[in-house]
């Protein structure tokens, strides 16, 4: 029987074993939520292509599910630096069976440079509306998008040197701009969900605060783009704090 899947990549770096701890909390939060919403969590924790960075591995989602004999309906691909509110509603019911994501609302200096750089050096000056550029840390897809992901993966494997060069020279994103360009170039029916489903760059919105205000404003907390964040120490800090906050407020009660 097919089901909805939450897919996340959590490939551990053996040189930094402690770094993975908060990402384990992400997975726990998603598992807790999935158990209430009749879906399954699939975690990729091994390298498939050694030369491919972990973030690109999300493109392998269809192959991995099929090779594991997992039947799926819709798939939510989510970054491992997210935590979901335990009482979040079932987002799969809001998709209209379309490709869903959340607009990347944060540093537009970064977004605009990303668009312009990949347009110029990779996509032969093809451009699209900056206000439709989405964050790839939260995407919902279904079987209709299998070919799209195969094409992006093949594009990466064919052009990996160029893409690495761009990343080294410009630092304006890896998988995210490529997925955006492919979605737009292929006229994929894109549904942009509200910010509450991928609350990126919360520091900029002045809600990453000790009173956990962000937990009252939406459902999926994406701990990215935090300034002065060496070795992701603040990401680790906030993910730990948030998970504990929910553990005390919700999970403990529900386990009593």
């Amino acid at each position: 029987m097919s089901t909805n899947i939450v897919f996340t990549v959590n490939i551990k770096n053996p040189d930094k074993p402690n770094r993975s701890t908060p990402y384990d909390l992400s997975i726990k939060s998603w598992k807790d939520w999935a158990s209430k919403n009749d879906c399954e969590v699939f975690v990729l924790d091994q390298w498939i292509y050694e030369e491919m960075n972990p973030n690109w591995h999300k493109l392998l989602v269809f192959d991995l599910l099929e090779s594991s004999d997992i039947e799926y309906d819709q798939i939510l691909i989510v970054d491992s630096d997210t935590i979901i509110h335990p009482n979040a509603p079932n987002v799969f019911e809001t998709t209209d069976n379309k490709f869903c994501a959340v607009h990347n609302d944060g540093s537009y200096d970064w977004v605009c440079r990303s668009l312009e750089t990949y347009s110029k050096y990779v996509f032969k000056d093809y451009m699209f509306d900056v206000w439709e550029y989405f964050n790839s840390g939260f995407m919902i897809v279904n079987g209709k998008h299998k070919d799209l992901f195969r094409d992006i993966r093949n594009f990466y494997l064919t052009n990996s040197n160029l893409l690495k060069q761009i990343q080294e020279n410009f630092g304006v994103g890896t998988d995210q701009p490529i997925i955006n360009f492919f979605v737009q170039k292929n006229n994929v029916d894109l549904k942009l969900l509200p910010y509450k489903w991928n609350m990126q760059d919360m520091f900029r919105k002045e809600i990453l605060t000790p009173d956990f205000l962000f937990t009252k404003l939406g459902w999926v907390y994406h701990f990215n783009a935090i300034p002065e964040n060496p070795d992701s120490s603040k990401t680790v800090y906030w993910m730990n704090k948030t998970y504990k906050f929910f553990h005390i407020s919700f999970y403990r009660d529900s386990n009593d």
Binding site: S107, Y108, W110, R113, W131
Partner: protein
């Protein structure tokens, strides 16, 4: 189809700066755009002495827009791009605005502060719109009359309001909820506020072939908010001086 852009720009002793110090640049752009797009422009410079602050003159649109089909109310700290498409083509009979979640702490505080007047109403944060650029069909004009009535009912408290959270924006949002009006959310290009926070005052510093600032490239209506009044004056002046050559007949 007859459409109107309505702008209030009043120099008033309650402010240290003259509104006209920056609204002159606003008006330069809107006058040009309205001429080019066959849209009427109404500029209000005379204060209605019934109000404690000039901002409430915005609400008088309900009696000043007679005979128009669609109306745009824009603040005097906006500038429109010379070749902006026509926002009146975006909608039929809806009430349009841009979701304002640039500073969600401010929004949350504001909704809570003004919530005392609307204890039975709840605002959806993701339907909360910025009041500095509004486009709507004439059938919604009554909202502004209601807001004005609300103001007069609570004038002393509102004129002396010291709880933060802005002036009329959140009140407008509460009245939309009260009237079951779900705004049509239009893209941020139609009300590009918090430009500094979005980091769009600069251009592409890596590909230097085109130094045009991002807000010019990707915005239709630029809204100079969230900065000091002196910065607003300077940035609007610089913008006008740099791009005035585009506003030629």
């Amino acid at each position: 189809m007859k459409n109107l852009i309505y702008i209030v720009t009043i120099d008033h002793p309650s402010s240290k700066y003259k509104n006209s110090d920056y609204s002159q640049y606003c008006l330069n752009t809107w006058k040009y755009w309205c001429d080019m797009n066959d849209v009427d422009l109404q500029v209000i410079t005379k204060h209605d002495e019934r109000f404690g602050k000039p901002i409430w003159n915005k609400e008088l649109i309900y009696e000043r827009a007679e005979g128009y089909d669609k109306i745009g109310v824009v603040d005097s700290d906006t500038m429109v791009k010379w070749d902006s498409p026509n926002p009146f083509d975006l909608f039929d009979e809806e009430f349009c605005g841009v979701n304002d979640i640039a500073n969600m702490k401010w929004m949350d505080d504001s909704i809570k502060a003004y919530g005392k007047f609307f204890p039975d109403l709840e605002i959806d944060y993701y339907q909360y719109i910025n009041a500095g650029v509004l486009f709507f069909h004439k059938k919604h004009l009554h909202i502004f009359k209601e807001i004005l009535d609300f103001y007069f009912d609570n004038q002393e408290e509102l004129d002396n309001w010291n709880k933060g959270g802005g002036k009329e924006q959140t009140i407008l949002n509460y009245h939309l909820v009260k009237n079951n009006i779900k705004p049509k959310l239009i893209p941020p290009s139609w009300n590009l506020f918090a430009i500094h926070k979005k980091e769009m005052f600069q251009g592409n510093w890596q590909i230097q072939e085109d130094p045009t600032p991002f807000f010019i490239k990707y915005g239709n209506i630029w809204h100079f908010t969230g900065i000091s009044l002196q910065d607003r004056i300077d940035l609007m002046r610089i913008t006008w001086e740099r791009f005035r050559g585009e506003y030629v007949y």
